[in-house]
Amino acid sequence: MNNRQNDIACNVGQGPVTGKEAGLMICHYCHKVVSCHDYDEATICPRCCATVHTRKPGSITYTWALVLTSLILLFPANLLPIMQVDYLGSQEYSTIMDGIIYFFKEGSYGIGIVILTASVLVPVFKIAGIMLILLSIHFRWKTWLRHKTMMFRFIEFIGRWSMLDIFVIALLTVLVNFGFFSTISAASAATYFCGVVISTMLAAITFDTRLIWDTCIPPNREEE
């Protein structure tokens, strides 16, 4: 990564290395530094009134629960039909994969890849990635810390893009409404798919990236 190390905030001399050791904590929203007198006790941020914790409470438990929820929901979301097409009186159901295959058959590879990425690869990658990070914290794997943080940042960023398919179906429901000739509406998998998106996004919110770095306490000064 092209970081300008010289301009960057540098580690303070001989003092403690992490905020937790120094008895400081940071407000998660306004990034104000607050001193914590009692370990693990929450205080109110003097600037934005949010509750400040050294680490998000129950982070691992919540994240595991939400990731497992999304893993379960992922199966009905992908196996059940997500769209119902009525064409001249005959009903046709299609799953997410059917829609993608349709685009590849039509020859529009670009759009096919966009949908494949947004609705299949992104949820799978998110669930696998968060589970990998959680396992690495559980077993205290001390390697690839920076890469794991970068992966999590990426997971956080791509999370919302899974809603793409839902928006497309919502628009098609309105716009392809030619009476008896042809209509499109959502089908059962849409609800499950929304569930996957919500639970993976919440899993990313409840997870505390600082837990990745807590595995290397006492920290290695040669880390950088």
């Binding site: 303070v12 759009i111 919502a170 030619f178």
Partner: protein, 232 residues
Amino acid sequence: MNPKKIILCPECDLLLEMSSVEEGEKLLCPRCGAILGAPVKDSVEKVLALTSAGLLIYVPAIFLPLLTFDAAGIESSGSIADSFLALINTHFYFTGLMVFLTAILIPLVKLVMLFIVAASLYTGRSSRKTAVLFRLYHHLDEWGMLEVYMIGILVTIIKMLHMAHVNYDVGFYCFIGLLAATLGSAALMDKKLFWDEIDKQALAREQKEGILPCRRPEPNNGPPALSTQGRP
């Protein structure tokens, strides 16, 4: 100015000393690479301008028809609000609610919040409420999904290109404007500057009213006092 301003990396909890940063540069955490600051010139003014533009264009963008599909003489058109209603009418309440929140309600609430925050900072009338509002904005931030909706519109157009004639309506252009205003205001918002400004105005207000300024936490360089307390 505090010569040794201590900050913590929000992503890896590393204790750092704040250093100056120029506009157009980024301040990164040396350990995990988190972005700690990216100053933008005249951030408050720019955000105020963009959010006002976004609010002006919001109603036509959401309620005017986006596209008209024309298949063998039968026309059908709809707006973003219609796409939510269509899901409700076909009894997909949960999905409909998600579309309503992510594409209609939260983008509006985000714009209004950011507008109020930028306006109160601009006029120098920020209060504790401004800080709370700005925090709530961060809560909602990733749940507004206008740009995802935009890609959704493009996918829909490409999907229907073979079957119907596509006409672009006023709503489509308004939506692009709304999207540009929303994305622009988020990109040009310098979070650190906003919080510093809120702090500065709060301090000035307290001094004016004769109340002691809030105590700033001093960096504790001694042995950590936290473990001795013992947990219940």
